[in-house]
């Protein structure tokens, strides 16, 4: 009997992802070891030269890796904590308005990153921006800052804007997680005289762990790959360079070999991470 589910059905999708997603990554392993650039027609094998450039302290690519790590950890923690608080808030019995609030808080996540970046460049403007003028209005003018040009502070401004944009996404997932917890648990707890805080610590939090694992993974994967938000807000300047702004920088300067080497190095890091992601995902599926 013929197969009802012929494998060639998967061929179209595999062809498209193969050519545009997988092939470029595979090619990276070859071009990473060449002096491929916009300035010469021929390619030469240069061994590990590009990787030496990456780890050369005078180029401060290590700084970019540090910024990426800080951005990733900070946005993951901030988004998780705020989203969890909002998810609890919106599932605590204000049913009618909760849908409206959920919809509004998610709204920033459907906007183009480009637009978010441009608007916040105006809001964070040191002299005319809404943030500083509001601070002055309420007598906190001393807190006004050069948010997007002050090395050391700017990365936090970028983290803040990205949290504003992304927190609704995590919140929507956590709300679904909270609503999936059977109500009977809470009823039993309240009959036993448990307080709201006890119910949160002993029921909500433990049962939400698989979902929190998923959102953490999503946050980490997003943070490590961050590019467009930084590109629009600061173009990687003032202490906000990340791995992908460095890749872009080399790319736009025509240094394709170095750009590919850094991309490929990071591809390997993400591949290892994805392995753990799939394990976490399949565990939450089993739960």
């Amino acid at each position: 009997m013929k197969n009802a589910y012929p494998t060639w059905f998967a061929g179209f999708a595999l062809l498209l992802t193969g050519v545009f997603v997988l092939l470029p990554s595979v090619l990276g392993f070859g071009f990473a070891f060449t002096d491929w650039s916009a300035y010469s027609k021929s390619l030469h094998w240069v061994g590990l030269d590009n990787f030496a450039t990456i780890f050369d302290p005078s180029n401060d690519y290590i700084g970019a890796i540090e910024h990426t790590a800080l951005f990733t950890v900070a946005t993951t923690v901030l988004k998780t904590v705020i989203a969890l608080a909002l998810a609890i808030l919106l599932t605590s019995g204000i049913r009618r308005l909760a849908y409206l609030h959920r919809g509004l808080i998610y709204l920033p996540a459907v906007l183009p990153v480009l637009v978010v970046g441009i608007v916040f460049r105006s809001i964070l403007d040191p002299s005319t921006g809404l943030l500083n003028t509001s601070l002055e209005l309420v007598g906190l003018g001393g807190l006004a800052q050069h948010w997007l040009t002050d090395v050391g502070l700017t990365i936090w401004a970028v983290i803040g804007v990205d949290t504003w944009r992304g927190v609704g996404y995590i919140m929507v997932i956590l709300i679904a997680g909270v609503l999936a917890i059977p109500r009977e648990y809470y009823e039993a707890a309240s009959i036993d005289g448990a307080s709201g805080r006890q119910a949160f610590i002993h029921i909500t939090l433990p049962l939400l762990m698989p979902v929190l694992a998923v959102t953490t993974v999503l946050n980490l994967l997003y943070g490590l790959r961050v590019f467009d938000m930084v590109f629009v807000l600061t173009n990687g300047q003032y202490g906000t360079s990340t791995v992908y702004t460095i890749v872009f920088d080399n790319f736009s300067r025509g240094l394709y070999g170095v750009a590919t080497a850094l991309s490929t190095l990071f591809f390997v890091v993400m591949l290892v991470l994805s392995y753990f992601v799939i394990r976490v995902m399949s565990r939450s599926e089993a739960a």
Partner: protein
């Protein structure tokens, strides 16, 4: 007791209202400043315009070449989405029904793109060799490819939850696999196809790096890249920049308002098994 409850509800509403306000303010800023004169909008303030400057929209449509950009955006997002959803449904269906080793490997290869980043540098090489640089067909194919991993992931989970008997019965009745897929399976998949379709539509509409890398001709630029370019040219004129942004995000917000239910369910579907 009654008072305590009212107080609690009040506090909860206040907290949620505050969060919504923080989420909305920047969006409000764009809309209100789009209607101001250039001097009025110079600080991107919260004040309403003295006289709404509706002509701003005409100006940006002209100067920002937004008519062609709009149709390019529609072409890329609709074309990319239709292609991505169709081939993803095709693939997810057979991969969810066959569980041999080779199918699991294909599934893994397809969804790997959710996690791994695009290597833009070598992708440029691929685009050059395939003559897809600076081409609209190239953009559609590329965008479709970027949306396949997550689409396959969502549709696969949905197919998995459907009883096998549905499609097996059709096949045994003499339908070919292709006919079974189109006549029986595709209609049942409708809810998940709508969800993946809308998510993909928004993703492609909002994206601006691919055209930045791979499109040279301004006549092929989508809305986002037109905004990017416009911002570079008129950075000091926030009223025009805002008007340009409004025209770019208005379709997004409309789709969001209409399709919120599907978007929010799709977002959490991958992460929460209910």
């Amino acid at each position: 007791m009654q008072l305590a409850r009212a107080l609690r509800t009040g506090t909860l509403n206040l907290g949620a209202g505050g969060a919504s306000l923080v989420a909305l303010t920047p969006i409000y800023l764009i809309f209100v400043n789009a209607l101001k004169t250039q001097p009025e909008a110079s600080s991107m303030g919260v004040e309403l315009p003295a006289i709404p400057q509706w002509a701003n929209f005409g100006t940006v449509i002209d100067q920002g070449k937004l008519v062609s950009a709009f149709f390019n955006s529609v072409l890329y997002s609709v074309g990319g989405t239709v292609l991505a959803v169709l081939v993803s449904a095709f693939a997810a269906y057979v991969l969810a029904r066959n569980r041999r080793r080779r199918h699991q490997v294909i599934y893994l290869l397809l969804i790997m793109g959710i996690a791994i980043p695009t290597n833009f540098v070598t992708l440029m090489k691929v685009m050059q060799v395939t003559h897809l640089i600076d081409s609209q067909i190239g953009m559609i194919l590329l965008y479709a490819a970027t949306q396949i991993p997550f689409s396959v992931f969502l549709i696969y989970a949905f197919v998995d939850s459907l009883p096998r008997e549905l499609d097996e019965a059709a096949f045994i009745d003499g339908c070919s696999p292709v006919r079974t897929f189109f006549a029986v399976v595709l209609p049942i998949l409708r809810p998940v196809l709508v969800t993946t379709g809308i998510l993909s539509l928004l993703n492609i509409w909002n994206e601006f790096l691919m055209p930045l890398y791979f499109l040279n001709s301004t006549s092929r630029w989508p809305m986002t890249l037109a905004v990017y370019n416009f911002f570079g040219q008129f950075a000091s004129d926030w009223s025009l920049v805002s008007a340009d942004i409004v025209l770019t995000v208005l379709p997004v917000i409309l789709v969001y308002v209409v399709a919120q239910r599907w978007i929010l369910s799709g977002v959490s579907a991958g992460a929460v098994k209910g």
